[in-house]
């Protein structure tokens, strides 16, 4: 019942996003098919909008799948080492194949993200103490270790600046020709939708899944692969976006519960809305300049996160 609201907000914010920017483009200019206006739209505004929506949906769904499969509400691609591993992968591709195409870089980054996420899931299986707080803490520690490896190599190879451009999510660099890789996340999100029941069951534990005749390992492997692929796509095109995968699924679960069939679409929409809203805010606060979206998302996200924590106690 709340779905239409989210969709309406998404459409309104999308329109707003298209008409905000240094170059003034009015709705009328576009209607009159004025050349400059169309060019701004096609080259910059529309790519930016699409990448925001795709990244928002992708990251929030990744968080949702990750939380479900790890049975922990505080796990997300940022707290499970996925994003940091993806960054390490990009760095390696810069060092080893500096001239490689974005697709090759993405594949290497995907491979690293996959390895990192499986390492996290492996550690998760090995720890005896399955405390709600310990698990994300271990994920964050693992992410920091991987991050420091990246930093070490970035220093050695003079790539600190390149690395930091992927550390901070940024949509101002998105123009036509530099974001299209993100389209690969569309079939992945659709694939995730078809497996929602399986993910929900896997989230109730291995025994539970087995009782219902489900191959637990296959489902976990598939879920993690989807998450790793989406994460590496997002990192390589727009960079790291914190908090999104953590808070959006938690927020939506309050209203829709944890049945993925029911909450995956609201989660995707809310992720896009949140990212779009943060981006609009980043573009107008110090207009005509921009603040990095990761900063806006970080501040808004941490406020929502605190709200979620206090709500839990109450």
């Amino acid at each position: 019942m709340k779905k239409p609201y989210l969709l309406v907000i998404l459409i309104l914010l999308s329109l707003l996003s298209l008409f905000i920017g240094v170059r003034k483009v009015s709705f009328l200019d576009v209607l009159k098919l004025e050349n400059a206006a169309i060019r701004t739209m096609v080259l910059s505004r529309i790519p930016r909008l699409i990448s925001l929506i795709l990244a928002g949906m992708g990251m929030s769904i990744s968080g949702l799948i990750m939380q479900q499969l790890s049975q922990n509400k505080f796990v997300s691609p940022t707290t499970a080492g996925t994003i940091d591993s993806a960054q390490l992968g990009i760095l390696f591709s810069l060092i080893i194949f500096p001239a490689a195409s974005p697709l090759v870089k993405m594949l290497l980054s995907f491979f690293f993200a996959l390895t990192g996420s499986f390492l996290f899931m492996f550690i998760l299986r090995k720890i005896k103490l399955k405390n709600t707080v310990i698990i994300p803490l271990i994920g964050i520690m693992m992410a920091s270790i991987i991050g420091s490896i990246s930093n070490f190599f970035a220093y050695r190879y003079n790539l600190v600046q390149s690395l930091s451009s992927w550390m901070q999510g940024n949509f101002s660099m998105v123009i036509k020709g530099r974001y299209e890789l993100l389209y690969i996340s569309v079939p992945l999100v659709i694939l995730a939708y078809f497996y929602t029941n399986q993910f929900t069951i896997a989230g109730m534990g291995e025994d539970f899944a087995f009782n219902l005749g489900l191959n637990y390992k296959t489902i976990v492997n598939m879920g993690i692969s989807i998450v790793a692929l989406i994460s590496s796509l997002v990192v390589i095109t727009v960079g790291r976006i914190p908090f999104l995968g953590l808070i959006i699924p938690n927020l939506i679960s309050i209203y829709y519960g944890d049945n993925l069939r029911k909450n995956i679409i609201p989660t995707a929409l809310a992720g896009a809305v949140f990212l779009l809203f943060s981006d609009i805010l980043s573009r107008i606060i110090i207009y005509p300049y921009e603040i990095p979206i990761s900063l806006t998302v970080g501040i808004l996200g941490s406020i929502i996160f605190l709200y979620l924590l206090f709500r839990r106690k109450a």
Binding site: Q68, Q71, K73, T196, N197, Q198, T200, I201, G203, M204, G205, D207, F208, F210, N211, L212, G213, L214, N215, S253, G257, D258, N259, R261
Partner: protein
Amino acid sequence: MIEVKSVVKQYGRKRVLDNVSLKIEKGKITSFIGPNGAGKSTLLSIISRLIGKDGGQVYLDGELVDGIDCNSFARKLSILRQSNHLNVRLTVRELVSFGRFPYSEGKLRAEDLDHIERALEYTQLKEEADKYLDELSGGQRQRAFIAMVIAQDTEYILLDEPLNNLDVKHSVEIMKILRRLVGELGKTVVIVMHDINFASCYSDYIVAFNKGQIVKEGNVEEIINKDVLEDVYDTNFVVQDIMNRRICFYY
């Protein structure tokens, strides 16, 4: 019939199940009793293939369980383990619907919906059907899990301490539901039980375990008596007939 033939399970050097053989008949409630660490739950997990075994065979209706594929197995036998404190927010109806997963793969047909309704009716959860599991009392939640197993509609239902943490009223409710399942639907129920008196009042057949072996098995009269129980639990027992039931006093 479930047939267990000289099953062995060991962790390191410790044998938790030592050459256990057992036949579990259809259409009955069979209870596993015995002290902690006697191997009851382990055997239940091995029968249901949740954990592997280090020796022996398990047959389900004459067929080796190891060869049955996951999905067919999930239509024949269901298992509910002790700790069902899920941190997943689902409504009762959603949980019960997942019981149909082995048949429907998520797309519920009319037949599946009938099964879900019947399971909710059996467990008297119709009014709570749209509540979230974390809004229910412990007894209602346990009933919801049993409803899921009923919807799964398997011939064999294995339950590991279903009365754990439940008060008297809820325990009796659950046992009555299980009796109806056996009486009306002809299911075969196997339960690991800690409360001997519940086992005595509701079982058709009791298997007493100790130190990884079956000490004695038989109907209620054969097992619920002073000699056998003192041997199994290493505690003094007084067993009396009260209203045609065998009741143990060991406090």
